[in-house]
Amino acid sequence: MTLVLASQLPALIVLLVLGAVAKVSTVRSGGEMGTLARLGPAALVPARIEVPVLVVCAVGELVIATGLLVSTSPIFRWMAVAFFAMCTYVLLEVRRRRPDAGCGCFGEVSAAPVGLRSIARTVALTGMAVLSLWAEGPGWPVFMQPSWFMAAGVVVLLVLSPELEEMVDRLRYRAPCEQRPGPAMEVTLARLRSSGPWRQHHEQLAAVEPYDSWRELCWRFFAFERRDGADVVFAVYLSGRRPAVRVAVVDHEDSGALPVYTPVSA
């Protein structure tokens, strides 16, 4: 019986940690895009405290998860029960007041409007938390001894997660490279410096830093000045680990294109 009672602790802990991480990363990446206004608890509060609400939520989740993992204190277990019961209430409220808002449970992945599945998931989680109230040991030993009850709990949660389908769709229908935010300029510059065309040209360059850099479609261009005054321009493809690199040398006075070297791939 003790096995049954403690079996749901790992699922609760993992889910709490995942939720906290996803919320924090959403706040860090999407804060200024105004997407927060459409996410879960943040949809119910005024705009200026959206970010604090999500952060407080994430910190609370982390505290509960740590407590469940290492201690047997009933305080953390009751906190988990209270947390998931409150989540259920918040989701019902979001569904009633902002039918267009996502639940935000896992940050911006949960942007789809709150459905019955999301609510059923928090109800199931509340049930699991209640079950764990009477567990004897802390959470970490249960990780060592996986059981069928634990697997059953995980399956129930997976079935009730609309985010899974969302992630599969995102992988299948990824925006084309031209519309995706590219890697940072330093990363692209590092890729350029490990490429063949760079090795051919870098000794003739007047400076190691480009004097101009810009992105167009799926290419990032770096313009360097050569010692003899001509411009060397490198174009680095923004997709892939070892991207294609093209290079051309353009005379300074010449306004027309004068590609001296044929395109080379790294």
């Binding site: 705009a47 031209e178 519309q179 935010p181 101009d212 810009w214 167009e216 479609l217 261009f221």
Partner: protein, 313 residues
């Protein structure tokens, strides 16, 4: 990192990728030319202006020409001393449309004050700063009916006239989007890869340099243009750079032109509206043109937008 010469980028990019560098200019059709200047003298058939370079020019006013100065007027009624933008035919000699002292007020509402005449403070984006405008009492009805959320944080777009230092908003330029300025909807998912042509609406703005031909484009990389508000659009736009050549086609008049991107369209990208100039366009502002480019593509400054299609020139 500065931009030593954005025109140079076009040449360099074309050389690296082995393609033709686009040239600015208009395409086929009887070319329209935009001319700008201060009115020195005007009669029903002839207008004399002083151009921004200081030269004096005399142009013929076509018999069918119309003028706008806060409302439709006969060209000869325009006040001497006002700044006019004109659409001209025959190599810039014959005027067929005149807009006097026209200005466009686009931005996010920061504050609204006043009871009869409203004084509105607008945030026009990181490059354009703040602007205080006045909505005269007679225009409040027309403007408010198209701006349902007339409160701080929401978008504002109107066309008006400059009177001395003040800018008066007279006509709404769009139906205000229903979301706050910082909550622009995400673009629809791109299923079939990148489209070579993107449709939407093209608007104009008067914050470009005088007589400049160019466009502001929302989808430019933030680190390239040093603009924290860029990369926002509700249309699936490809990333381009300052200096890239944009082929803009006015679907309503079937004119097209190559226009260089000269600014970051961080305010235009926040508008997810449609243009109903000749048909209902898809949502989203894909380019904000300088008045000269806009007029030469056959757009009417008072209408505020045209249905457009863009491609890489």
């Amino acid at each position: 990192m500065g931009y030593p010469s954005v025109e140079r980028r076009r040449v360099l990019a074309a050389a690296a990728l082995g393609r033709e560098a686009g040239v600015p200019g208009s395409g086929e059709g009887d070319p329209l030319r935009a001319v700008m200047g201060d009115i020195l003298d005007i009669s029903p058939h002839l207008i004399t202006i002083e151009t921004p370079e200081g030269a004096e020019e005399r142009l013929v006013i076509a018999p069918w020409a119309t003028a706008w100065h806060g409302g439709d007027q006969a060209p000869s009624d325009l006040p001497v001393g006002s700044t006019v933008i004109m659409r001209t035919l025959r190599d810039g000699r014959v005027v067929e449309r005149l807009w006097a002292d026209i200005t466009r007020l686009t931005g996010t509402i920061l504050s609204v004050e006043g009871r009869k005449d409203l004084s509105v403070q607008l945030d026009c984006g990181p490059h354009r700063g703040r602007r205080t405008i006045v909505i005269p009492y007679r225009a409040t009805g027309r403007i408010m009916v198209r701006h349902a959320r007339f409160e701080p944080g929401f978008l504002f777009d109107a066309i008006g006239i400059r009177k001395g230092e003040a800018s008066l908003a007279l006509l709404p330029a769009t139906s205000q989007p229903a979301y706050p300025a910082r909550a622009v909807p995400a673009p629809p998912p791109a299923y079939g890869g990148l489209q070579s042509r993107v449709s939407g609406t093209a608007t104009w703005s008067d914050v470009f340099d005088e007589e400049d031909r160019g466009a502001a484009y929302p989808m430019v990389e933030r680190s390239d243009v040093d603009c924290p508000d860029a990369e926002v659009s509700c249309t699936g736009l490809p990333y381009l750079a300052l200096g890239s050549m944009l082929q803009v086609r006015n679907i309503c008049t079937d004119r097209s032109a190559n226009v260089p991107i000269v600014a970051c369209g961080c305010v235009a990208g926040r508008f997810c509206d449609r243009c109903v100039e000749c048909d209902t366009s898809p949502r989203g502002r894909i380019a904000e043109l300088s008045p000269f480019s806009y007029v030469e593509l056959g757009g009417d400054l008072v209408k505020g937008c045209f249905n457009a299609q863009i491609g890489l020139g």
